[in-house]
Structures are given as C-alpha cells and as structure tokens.
C-alpha cells in the first residue's frame, strides 16, 4: 500500500520534471538545452558505447577512492573530536569555516601538488566529503544521552563493550546521515576536478561536449549522473530512515 503510493509519488515527480525540462527547452532553444525526447534517444545510443564506458569507469574509480578517503578520514576525525572534548572545542570552528570555504579556490593548489593525475582528483573529491562526515559524526557522538554512559557503568561494561555495543549503535543513524551528505559532496568534488583538469571522466565529457556544441551528449551525461546520485541518495536515506524509525 505505502510502497505503491511511494512509487506513484516518484512517478509524479518524474513527470513534472520532464514537463519542466520540455518547457525550459522551448524557452531557451535546442542549442543550449535539447528536449527530453532527443536527449533520451541519444542516451539510448550513447550509454552502451565504448567511449561512455571508459569515461564512466574513470569517474567511478576516482569517486571510489575519494569516497574511501572521505569516509575513512571523516569518521576518524569525527570520532576523535566527539570523544575528546578539547579537540572538539578547538577543531569544530576550524572545520566549520573550512566547510563554508568554497574549496574550488584551493583546486589550483591541489593541481600544483599533484598535477593532472588521478591522485589530484581523488584529493579534491575527498576534500569535499571529509568535512560533512567529520562534523556530523562528531555531533552524533556528542548527542548520545549521558545516561547511556552511566548505564554502561552500572551494567559493568568494559570500555570496548561500551563503544561497540552502546556508543556505536546510538550514534549510527546520525552518522549515516553524514555519510549520505558526504557521498553527494564527494561526487561533486570529483566531477568539478574532472571538469577543470582531466582528459577522461564524465566531468571532462560534459565540458568537451559543451565546447563542441554537442548539447545532447552534455545533457545525457548530466541525466546519467542525476540518476546515479538520486539512486544512491535514496538508498542511504532508506537506511537512515530504517535506523531512525526505532528512535
């Protein structure tokens, strides 16, 4: 029952988006924004091609490493700052100001360090994802009710038992929220890096298509990325909701 309603809602949103796309296309013209029909027709031809597969794979590899770094470093910083009060007090304003800084201004520095390499793009992607993961992990740990810690002591739990069986599950829903935002921002970072300085990857494909006035290819890549991001986001949101439902 609820599942069919959800599906209906999603379908309605998709239809509205397609209509808006068509309307915008009428407004700005086919050179800037091809309509949904020619784009989807192009998509059907382009996605199975070798060229698409190569570029999509390049982006996926880069994104995978960047995400690994975002999650690994972000979780480590977040846990440390959540547990150790002084580090949290010192680190939080620094992380927040870094979070608000447009990281694209630092891309030249990354390029000068790493050159046009995979490491540079991975670093730039991770720079976007680390901060939200760290900040939300920290707040997740700080929001654990103090009475849990008192209960742990009255139930004679060891330090490790307290962390694994109590602190971790208590903080998990909010941490997954951080991972979800980290996912989106890491993808943004990787695509930006590919757009500015890369010979392969979906980001560079978009820029090339724009320079060659191939609006259909440009939009096709955008649609694919949109679908990928929306699906991943929906999956993580579903996990988050399942965890939250019990709270």
């Amino acid at each position: 029952m609820i599942a069919t309603r959800r599906a209906a809602d999603t379908a309605i949103i998709l239809i509205i988006m397609l209509l808006a796309w068509q309307a915008l296309h009428q407004l700005v013209g086919a050179t800037a924004l091809p309509g949904p029909v020619p784009t989807l027709a192009y998509l059907a031809r382009f996605v199975p091609s070798e060229r698409f597969a190569e570029n999509a794979w390049a982006t996926l590899v880069c994104f995978f490493y960047a995400l690994l770094l975002s999650y690994g470093i972000g979780l480590a910083i977040g846990v440390w700052m959540g547990i150790h009060r002084l580090s949290g007090a010192v680190g939080e304003p620094i992380l927040i100001s870094l979070y608000t800084l447009p990281k694209v201004t630092l891309y030249p520095v990354v390029l000068l360090i790493f050159g046009l390499s995979l490491s540079g793009r991975v670093t730039f992607g991770a720079m976007h994802g680390v901060l939200p993961v760290a900040l939300l992990t920290m707040s997740a740990i700080r929001n654990i009710p103090p009475v849990y810690l008192k209960s742990a002591r009255t139930l004679h739990l060891s330090g490790w038992q307290t962390i694994l069986t109590m602190l971790f599950p208590a903080a998990l829903p909010e941490i997954v929220g951080g991972l979800r935002i980290g996912f989106t921002l890491t993808l943004l970072g990787v695509l930006l890096a590919e757009m500015f300085a890369a010979k392969q990857g979906l980001g560079s494909l978009i820029i090339n298509a724009m320079q060659l006035m191939q609006a259909e290819e440009m939009l096709t890549v955008a649609v694919v990325l949109f679908a990928f991001a929306a699906l991943a986001n929906a999956l993580l949101l579903w996990i988050e909701h399942r965890l939250h439902r019990r709270v």
Partner: protein, 275 residues
Amino acid sequence: MTTAAADADIHAALSGVTRVYPETIATPPVHALGPLDLELKRGEFFAVVGPSGCGKSTLLEVLAGLQQPTAGTVMFEGRTVSGKVPDGIGVVFQEDASFPWMTVWDNAAFGLRRNGVATAEIRRRVDDALAFMGLTEFARAYPAQLSGGMRQRVCISRTLVLQPRLILLDEPFGALDAQTRLLMGDEVLRLWRRTGATVLLITHALDEAAMLSDRIGAMSARPGRFLDIVVTGWSRERDSKIVSEPQFGEITGRLWEDLRGESLKSLGHPGMAAG
C-alpha cells in the same frame, strides 16, 4: 564501635561524605553534598526527599560508585566503594535509558549478555523479569512503540535481571503522570518484597516517599544534609491504598514542615524561609 551483628545488619553506609564539584573555566566550585551520614539496613526501603538541586542525585551516584566522594567513605556489604559500581548494586535513572535500537527483550538481556552469563540462564532471567514487570507481550516491541511508563519498566527489568541486592532509584517516575506514578509505586513495592533487596529511592514527591518507604530522609537545600529521618511504620504488605489512611497525611505533613523552608531557599526566598 558497633558490634559484628549490627554491622551485618547495615547493608550500605555513607560516613562523613561530602561532594564538591571542582571549579571549571565557566563555574566556581560547587559544594553539592554533605557532610552526611546514612546507614541503610538490609532489606529496608529508604526514600530521600528534598528540594530540587539539593544534591539528591549526587548522593545516589556517590553511593553507586558513579562519583567519588570528596571526603568521607562509602561502604557496601562491608567493602569500600571506590571508582566503580560494585556487583550487587542496580541503578534505575530518571532519564529514559532504554536503547531504541533493540527490542524490549534485548534491552532486558543487555547487561547479562555482556557479563558472560549462559544463554539458557539469560533466557530464564529475562523472561522472568519481563513477566514480573508485565512486559511479556511487548518482548518483541521497540521502546519507541511503548509509553514512558513502560519504557521505565524496561529499564527496571534490565536492572532486575542482574539480581541486585541494593536497588537505587533516581526519580524513576519523575517524568510520569500522577496516576501512573501511583501504579508504578505499587510495582516497586511488589519488586521490593519479592527480591528482598534494599531499596533507596530518590524523589521530589512527598506522597510517593510517604507511601513507599520504611524510612524517609528529608534533605536540606544545597549543600544537601539530612534535616530529619521519618520512620513510617508501614507493614511490609502495604500498597497504594494507604494514601487514604490518616497516618499517611501525618507523614506527608511532617515532611512538608521539614522541607517548606528549604524549598523556599532553593527558590531564592531566604527571607520567607524564616517565617
């Protein structure tokens, strides 16, 4: 010196206990408690009442070994309590401490699973505790599906399965409505009779203290000290029906007499306290 027989009768004791919270960047040092003496007899039901902020919860945490006293000693079953919660003491807190990510059954089993008890024994004790607290049919439910009173019963079950000999209750019904509190009071009495444990109840409700306890300690405003110890003289088989007895009114009346001035002090009316 007390005799050995009298010592055996004393289950837990605080002597000359004070607790001063050290100074921090934002706050001056706070003298929360004492100096204060208290002897809990084995198997008795003792309530502590006092104005808010008088150090009642500090008293409980010091007795439980959750906080170190600044001075004085804490004894439980003839041993000094220091730095960790001794085996045999169970605590139920005011805040909801049930874990939302596990079922009622798993919540109740939590402490046993972490302490290496055999599976069959865990099952027996948890089923028993849930049946006793009237939670059997909610064993597979999650705390979010239960009312506040039932969640507090989950926390009591979690403590109960560890078979504590001294049960410390820190305003466990503070967040519940008055009727539910009366009924929960009956459950606590039932629990006290069946386990034979010593119970220390912290509460701000004079009627709750008067109805449940053998003895009641009335505490002063901060730093908390005992102003009066009231002996109720109820039979062990009491329940919430005693609230209609004249003696009940006398006890609550005496407690209010003890505490009225102190409560005004904690409200910041020192002048009125004298009158």
